[in-house]
Amino acid sequence: MIVAKPILLAEDNPRDAELAMAAMEEQNISDKVIVCHDGAEVLDYLYCRGSFKSRSKGNPVVIFLDLKMPKVNGLEVLQTIKGDTNLRSIPVVMLTSSREERDLRESYALGANAYVVKPVEFHQFVSAVKELGAFWGVINEPPPEVSRSAK
């Protein structure tokens, strides 16, 4: 059975997560979305540890990463991902409230693939999330899976 590759959404705020899921639903890709509530959980998922020990292997097709999260923040997660040869090729889209130049600069410096500011207006937010989901989850061809045996 072919399991579609998942979309990882890192979002500490349950309301934001719910709104994002609502948007994904409209795009009919909500079933592929896995929500992590802080940076540590994102890393647990990627390294198949903690509560994700038994998940099926494989990297997500894209990671939507919030900047401000408890425990391990978005930039730290990004740094870890882009510093790991096995994870480096996963597209990472920063999805954040911050329009601060500093955040933009640091994110791109660490290797973020895109940076999207969450619009305040819901319709715009929905269309942004829908487009992101459609582009990264459907249109974009993900990088080929690195051989796990190499590890």
Binding site: R15, D16, S97, S98, E100, K118, V120, E121, F125
Partner: protein, 498 residues
């Protein structure tokens, strides 16, 4: 854009008046004080002027002392050349004295012996005599007394030589007997005595003059030494006070620098705090707004079928308010960033800048009938992006507040009143504003029109003022209701750090 069109007679005017007043107090010393208390006057000077006046005093002191010393040295030098002359004169007088004795003696010997050798000796003195007199006149020149004596001496010598010549003639005519008496007594005994007397007098006179000059030279030299000593002491005192002044100034400056640094650190800390504050606002304040709008939308969708028209309007209002607050937060963040952002100073061509802005606004200008007058503008020094925002705000305001006019007229012009600053203005024939409220015009979120008349949050002119202040300039506006408005931006021609 924001609350553009309202007037504001400016705060800058009063600031100017204040600063002008301050300068007057500082710079104009009171003349009566100058004479009643030089020390107080000195204290009223700036450190630079104090040092300058101290150095001026040192300079004048050195100049006076140098001049007096030069004069003294000249006196000593002149005296010394006079001394040489006196010595030569005394020597010459001795020579003359001896020569005249010799003439008399040789003459007598000749009378007695008839030996031609003595006659030759006598004649050589006769030959030398005019030379002696010429030298004597040269050396005695300048002293009337001595010149008179030279004349007398000359006459006596002539008489002596003449008497002797006469005796020789008698010898040749009448033989020894004719001159025997003369030979025994001497032909010019009296003249010779007179010559000795005059020579003695002249010698005495010269020696007296020499003694006088030696005393004078000694006095002058002492005077010079004392003067130089006084001068040196004076210079030491002044140098010491200049040193004191500089040291005092340096101490003061160091204190001020430390104080400035302390304040700078405080300011930096406050800035950091502000930065993290706006960072939090940016992150955290926007999230609930997003939720309000998001859940209102979801709710509308969930109950779409049973929603009354009224309920639908309520939900829309909730969404609109959330969106508006989002806009206000964004504007506030931009305003805050404008105050912190580092300035990149370059030479900015305002003509290019205005052209680019009009190009950016072309969509807003569609369907509008606007008559533009853009004067030739000068280059200014400033941050290009920030100045662009200034003129973008002013021009967009002009466009916005003339939207009710069938034919809008907008002028961008320059008004150079002095060399200190360049005044650029944007004038429109729009709805204008009441000058009573001009002081509110440049405030954050201040609007002089209702939202349903003209859109905007009221941040634009606040940004204009903040940017212009960071450039060291000032802003003001003039206008009247329904008669248009003019917004002025004055930028200093001299570069001012921000």
């Amino acid at each position: 854009m924001e609350s553009a069109t309202n007037n504001e007679p400016q705060i800058p005017l009063s600031q100017d008046a204040e600063s002008a007043g301050g300068e007057t107090c500082l710079d104009v010393p009171r003349p009566y004080r100058l004479w009643t208390s030089p020390i107080q006057w000195f204290r009223s000077l700036t450190i630079e002027r104090r040092i300058l006046s101290s150095f001026g005093l040192v300079f004048v002191g050195i100049l006076v002392i140098s001049m007096v010393s030069y004069r003294n040295a000249s006196i000593v030098s002149v005296n010394s050349s006079l001394d040489t002359r006196s010595h030569e004169l005394v020597q010459l007088l001795t020579d003359i004295d001896v020569a005249m004795d010799e003439a008399e003696n040789n003459h007598r010997r000749y009378l007695i012996t008839g030996d031609v050798l003595y006659l030759t000796g006598y004649r050589s003195v006769v030959k030398q005599k005019p030379v002696f007199i010429r030298y004597l006149e040269g050396l005695a020149a300048g002293s009337v007394e001595q010149e008179e004596r030279v004349g007398l001496l000359n006459r006596m010598m002539n008489r002596q030589l003449a008497a002797e010549a006469k005796a020789i003639e008698q010898l040749d005519g009448g033989g020894f007997e004719a001159v025997k008496e003369i030979a025994l007594e001497g032909a010019a005994k009296d003249e010779l005595a007179e010559i000795h007397r005059v020579v003695g007098e002249m010698e005495l006179y010269e020696r007296e003059a020499l003694r006088r000059r030696v005393l004078e030279s000694a006095a002058v030299t002492t005077n010079t030494i004392v003067l130089l000593g006084v001068g040196a002491a004076l210079q030491l005192v002044l140098l010491a006070s200049v040193y004191y002044l500089i040291r005092h100034d340096i101490t003061e400056r160091r204190r001020v620098a430390e104080e400035l640094q302390r304040r700078g650190e405080l300011l930096e800390a406050a800035n950091k705090e502000l930065e993290s504050f706006s960072y939090s606002v940016s992150h955290d304040l926007r999230a609930p707004l997003r939720h309000i709008d998001g859940y209102a939308s979801l709710l509308r969708k969930a109950v779409a079928d049973s929603l009354s028209e009224k309920a639908s309007r309520y939900l829309e209002t909730i969404s609109a308010s959330a969106t508006q607050m989002g806009q206000l937060i964004d504007d506030l963040l931009v305003f805050s960033r404008m105050g912190r952002q580092e300035m990149l100073r370059t030479n900015v061509d305002l003509n290019q800048l205005i052209k680019a802005i009009l190009n950016d606004l072309r969509l807003d200008l569609q369907g509008r009938d606007i008559s533009w007058t853009i004067e030739r503008l000068p280059d200014v020094s400033g941050d290009s992006a920030m100045l662009r925002q200034v003129f973008m705000n002013l021009i967009a305001n002009a466009v916005k507040f003339t939207s009710t006019r069938p034919k809008a007229e907008i002028t961008v012009g320059v008004d150079i009143r002095n060399t200190e600053e360049i005044v650029v203005f944007v004038r429109d024939n729009g709805v204008g504003f009441n000058m009573d409220y001009v002081s509110k015009l440049f405030g954050v979120f201040q609007r002089l029109h209702r939202v349903d008349e003209f859109e905007g949050t009221g941040i634009g002119l606040a940004n204009v003022r903040r940017i212009v202040h960071r450039h060291g300039g000032r802003t003001w506006a003039e206008g009247a209701i329904d008669q248009g408005a003019t917004f002025y931006v004055a930028l200093p021609t001299r570069r001012i750090g921000s």
